[in-house]
Amino acid sequence: MKKVFFCLLVVLITNVNAYAQKYFTKNGYISFFSKAKLENIKADHNQVLSTLDIGTGDMQFSLLIKGFHFPKATMEEHFNEDYMESDKYPKATFKGKITNLAQIDFTKDGTYNATVSGDLTMHGVTKKNFSTSGTITIKDGKISANSKFNVLLKDHNIKIPKVMASNIAETIEITVTCSYPNKT
């Protein structure tokens, strides 16, 4: 009987160890792309904070709006002052969960499809149960996450003046690339 308990204990402890693993990066990448009649605009962000708990599937992203960098200084100004109001709403966040965690084997190299669902907050407006898909890649034991999805400006109460309607799209394509080199 003692032996059984001991075995159970060992199994429990190793399981806890295997799963109580939280990864993070402070230098993840997110870009946004607006495709409109008159021009295409792309901005990059390389200081995205992201966390991934491979035990629970919890996944979070957080970035400072001011960290988006544009090809032109004027675009950056308009983006921060007129559209995103980054002094008032300095951050955008996503707090969610991987919903198909069981299908991802973090111990085996490969690319796995992943779906995430959670709260997407930007410009002070939270969209609940925002869901999107992407991939989780394990290579030499290192985890990275990729996703591409669309965000509707009107979902976050971001208003584009009529005169700019042919310069800025109503749907923005967001690309996410984060590798998670750090363990907490």
Binding site: N27, Q47, H69, P181
Partner: protein, 144 residues
């Protein structure tokens, strides 16, 4: 020259001037980091400023060119292959997170260097996961 022609010419000139001003404004360059006047600050003072009084720190540092000197705790490349250098602070796991424009920057872990960059602010980390935030500098250069 008839009056009509004069008016036409003036109008054209006016349009040309407006167009040129517009073009110059639209193409105005990003703020100059290398040649700009800088605020010199230590990694700890910069971090503490944001933690203690975020509003004052925002006014003082955000969008300003800041020069920070300190010890390199880590260096790596980000997803766009830019060099990232972390400068140590006295607080454990907190750094001044500096992203360079160039891909190849010769910086060694453990050395003391001075970096100039634009302060983007402080990402407050993740309290749930016990990850402290960093102060972020972008478009960095090694200060000579």
């Amino acid at each position: 020259m008839s009056n009509l022609n004069k008016i036409l010419l003036l109008t054209l000139l006016l349009i040309a001037v407006i167009a040129i001003i517009g073009l110059v404004m639209w193409n105005k360059p990003h703020s100059d980091v290398e040649g700009a006047g800088t605020i010199k600050v230590s990694p700890d003072d910069l971090y503490n400023a944001f933690v203690k009084d975020s509003a004052a720190a925002k006014n003082m540092y955000i969008n300003k060119v800041v020069e920070v000197s300190g010890e390199v705790s880590e260096t790596f490349t980000n997803e766009q292959f830019q060099t990232v250098v972390l400068l140590k602070t006295a607080t454990e796991r907190v750094s001044i997170n500096c992203t360079f424009e160039e891909k190849e920057v010769q910086v060694k872990k453990g050395t003391n260097i001075a970096i100039k960059g634009i302060c983007d602010g402080y990402n407050s980390g993740d309290a749930d996961m016990d990850i402290p935030g960093d102060v972020v500098l972008v478009r960095c250069y090694l200060s000579k």
